[in-house]
């Protein structure tokens, strides 16, 4: 089973764990509803849509409310540290959590304690913590955008906000930045870099590029990176190899975006709606 860990922008939302479904543009978990705008709910919605089409297993979610104060994230970190050993997942995807190196390390130790080690995917705040901890190679897939790739490539930066200017965040620099991230052990086993061109890479170099269909507006739409990570997670949990799954996810995400005829004002749920159609039209 695929598990997804993240936060929702409602400080009254309690720590909740359970199976997740998608209904009427909302994520349902333990009788609670969360609208899908961007962030972890968008990642979950994309994974659910893909999972239904792929005919794969159910999805499990760990969620808590957090508006940036870190309190919900710390409840999640603590819960995972204490309870992960009781679960059996094939893939865990970590997403919007307040980056905290100490808590990250505790969760990683808890994963080492699990009977079967799941494949580990990290994006957003948890990926920042994974890089800062020096434990990035423990992960199977990171899914940074170009700004975040520059952060991974800058061995001194504690957050993308402090990435040094000479490490340019330009599209044509992606191969150099990928190589630099691996040189300093700040990348997962595989990278799926989201950008004008999407790159799939590992320590040996670039394994694939996806650059069509092109919709420049996708960059402006909040949540399109989240849906890409959700698609990759769903495909990997359906037993497709990580590099192949990452390339497929990039193609499906672009095609779903294309079907939505996006403008920079499009909201991500309009794209998520087209994921089953896009998946059907791309051989996998």
């Amino acid at each position: 089973m695929l598990a997804i860990v993240g936060t929702v922008p409602d400080q009254n939302f309690p720590l909740t764990a359970g199976k997740i479904t998608l209904k009427n543009n909302k994520i349902l978990i333990q009788g609670k509803q969360i609208p899908v705008n961007r962030g972890t709910p968008a990642l979950m919605a994309a994974a659910i849509q893909a999972g239904e089409t792929l005919g794969t297993t159910e999805l499990y979610g760990f969620l808590a409310g957090d508006i940036g104060l870190g309190n919900g994230s710390r409840k999640l970190y603590e819960y995972l540290t204490n309870h992960l050993i009781e679960f059996d997942f094939c893939v865990i995807t970590f997403h919007y959590l307040q980056p905290d190196v100490d808590w990250h390390n505790r969760v990683l130790f808890a994963i080492h304690e699990m009977k079967n080690r799941p494949l580990l995917i990290a994006d957003a705040g948890f990926m920042y913590a994974a890089k800062m901890s020096g434990q990035a190679p423990e992960y199977d897939l990171f899914t940074p955008d170009m700004g975040e790739l520059a952060f991974l490539a800058d061995e001194t930066a504690p957050h993308p906000f402090y990435t040094r200017g000479f490490i340019l965040q330009e599209e044509n620099k992606a191969p150099d930045l990928i190589a630099r991230a691996y040189k300093h052990d700040n990348a997962a086993r595989y990278l799926l870099v989201k950008g004008k061109q999407d790159y799939v890479a590992n320590r040996q170099g670039i394994l694939g590029k996806v650059d069509s269909p092109v919709n420049a507006a996708m960059e402006a739409i909040g949540g399109t990176g989240d849906t890409l990570t959700g698609l990759a997670a769903a495909l990997i949990s359906s037993k497709i190899k990580i590099d192949k799954a990452a390339i497929l996810a990039a193609r499906i995400n672009r095609l779903a975006g294309d079907y939505a005829k996006p403008t920079p004002a499009t909201q991500v749920m309009e794209i998520i709606r087209h994921i089953p159609e896009a998946l059907d039209n791309i051989p996998h």
């Binding site: 940036g68 309190n71 906000f161 990435t163």
Partner: protein
Amino acid sequence: MSIFGFLKLKKGKKSQKYNQIKSNNPKSKGKFKAKFKDRGILVFEHTSEVIRAENVLKKISEINGWAIRVMGPPPEIRTGCDLVIEFSLIEKLNILRTLQKIGIKPLQTVPVTNPLLTPVDLFQTKDFGQYLMVRAANMKLTVEKETLKIVNISGGGCPDVPYLAQEMVGKHLTNDAPLPCDIGHTLCGYALQLAYEEIKHQCSL
């Protein structure tokens, strides 16, 4: 939390186990030296400011579950008094706003690991015709040029990003949208504030 009632928390046993794993795990010896990578330093002009800042930050740190400590400045810091405050760097925006409320403005806010690092100051602008997007660090803000309505916020990885988007998207850039520096809490929120100021500048507001 009621849904977890069936699961007993074994805190004592677990923390004992954690320490055991930590000390036994070969990976914990070298790489986990990265312990302080998510910490920042607040530099002040006067020691009296350090004391006042410590008092107020200790109170909110207890509520929010992060730690601060007063220490001597690292050698790279050549300004300010003989004491600095170490804090959770991610929550910089929240902490600076808290200090501002009591009239304290630190001379500098820098990462512990490299006090010479400065915030990103490069902006990337994309003109979509009807829309304008500005990126600062990992945050992107897009407005409709004619109406100045915020139509999208993307990028970022801290939990206040979805919250900021929820509160700002669909609102007018200057009339009714809240400022990221007022409702954001993290470095991503801080980056969004920079993008906000830059897009205002580019729209000549």
